[in-house]
Amino acid sequence: MIEEERNIDQENPVITIRDLYKSFGDLVVLDGINLDVFKGENVAVLGKSGTGKSVLIKIIAGLLKPDSGLVEVLGQKVDKLGLRELQQLRLKLGFSFQNSALYDSMTIWENLEFPLVRNKRNLTAKEVKNAIESVLDDVGLPQTINQMPSELSGGQKKRIGIARTLILQPEIMLYDEPTSGLDPATSIEINNLIKQVQLQYNTSSIIITHDLTCAKATADRVAVLLNGKFYITGSFEEVFNSTEPNIKTFYDYNFITN
């Protein structure tokens, strides 16, 4: 495990969510949720599949619009921003997709170069090369630089997906099911990488998962999303020891399926 030497600034939330509602047709997905994520903190959002966990971080990243409620990221109201302001904010946000979402017609080099050269246009070719090599070293995959995404394993794709976000030096990381579909050994590697990113890049993160091991390994705080609401928020131990029936049902379900 990676040694932890960091401070969580409890006074400064980097993400503030108040009374957030989102529905698709008649289906209410988020039913008035509240959440603060503080600087330097990793928060895991646990919940069964289809409970709106991914919807939550897509709203934070401005990919979906909420029906109502406040979503503030680094002091800016996400749903009130114009395209240019939103793009400026997204430079400080990293989003790791569930299926990695690597650009499959590009090599790994091009995948990493794509956001970098479009957002930092004054970089020299050498600086671009150094940045790409550095971030590939950080995720432990320098040998994949000229490969295509189709030639990588699931775990490698996740790492490259994380590398692609890290290349812009984000302040906040949003991980969507980082360990889903991975074997236990690779899951542990990804969990360690999430912790490494938190320490090395001093990021705050929301980790969307239904994997208790991932939540335990990576999160400072856990929030359980059930039926569109956060039923409980606290440390992993506090949540795990909860006697709330809905929470216990979730854990039972999780142990059976995992």
């Binding site: 990919l63 997204r90 989003f95 299926n99 979402a101 650009y103 794509f114 976000t165």
Partner: protein, 272 residues
């Protein structure tokens, strides 16, 4: 950005589901076109990607365009000969073929068979559709790049530039095919054939053909990108996007063909 909702909520239709969806689609395509014009004229410009798309759309279609143009020229000449021979007018074949190819066949054949049905439209629809359902477009958005500018504006610009080039090339190859047939049957020389052919073509014919091709190219780009960019529902959605890209492009091309022909016929009448 949220994708365009394809199904309106139940029991909330103004007329009926299909009619409402049709007008909703028209509205969203209109917004899509406006956004294209906004993005294409604002910096940063993706010159490299436009050139890349021109290469894929133009150069990689050359073999198919050549074959189609050549066959069209040969077959059209062969089929027209008996009718002209009845009146002893087979010497008019070069003029007839030139007018038919430049005014109608080259733009329509290139747009329908090669650019739309054959290759480009379905390719763009499937490519962007696949990128949408695998969240690659979302990934571009969250990495602070503008996927509309990179994926849509570049492709629409490339089709608008390359379809006219392909149309002119199809016309030229079609004329060559026609010459081969005429030369074999009537032993007409190369200069005599082209002198006769170009004598009947006016600048207005070429101008109309280019305008038509620009409209077709723009339509193919917009229709295909719209379907691909707004694809939904997994792999089925990708297939649907590719299919609708072709169908939608064809409908619009037919409407444009009739409209532009009518406009230029009126102009021709006014000038005579």
């Amino acid at each position: 950005m949220e994708t365009v909702p394809k199904v309106l909520p139940k029991n909330k239709y103004v007329v009926s589901r299909r009619v409402d969806a049709f007008f909703s689609d028209i509205y969203h395509i209109w917004i899509f076109i406006l956004r294209f014009f906004k993005e294409v004229f604002s910096s940063p410009f993706e010159f490299k990607e436009v050139v890349n798309q021109c290469y894929h759309i133009g150069l990689k279609s050359l073999s198919l365009v050549s074959l189609t143009g050549l066959v069209t020229g040969i077959v059209f000449t062969n089929q027209s000969r008996p009718s002209l021979e009845v009146f002893g007018a087979s010497s008019w074949l070069p003029s007839l073929v030139a007018i038919a190819l430049i005014r109608a066949l080259a733009p329509l054949v290139t747009a329908l068979i090669v650019a739309v049905a054959g290759k480009v439209g379905s390719n763009i629809g499937a490519e962007l559709g696949s990128m949408r359902v695998t969240e690659q477009i979302d990934a571009m958005e969250v990495s602070a790049t503008n996927p509309f500018k990179f994926l849509v504006a570049t492709r629409v610009l490339a089709t608008t530039i390359m379809v006219p080039v392909l149309v002119m090339y199809t016309g030229l190859v079609g004329m060559m095919g026609s010459f081969l047939n005429v030369h074999q049957n009537e032993e007409t020389s190369f200069p005599a054939f082209f002198k006769s052919a170009f004598a009947s073509i006016t600048f207005l014919d070429i101008y109309a053909s280019v305008i038509k091709a620009i409209c077709f190219g723009f339509t193919i780009g917009i229709a295909s990108c719209y379907q691909g960019y707004n694809a939904q529902k997994g792999t089925q959605g990708v297939g649907r996007a590719a299919n609708l890209a072709v169908v939608l492009s064809m409908y619009f091309i037919f409407i444009e063909e009739i409209t532009i022909v009518q406009i230029f016929n009126n102009i021709r009448t006014l000038l005579l």
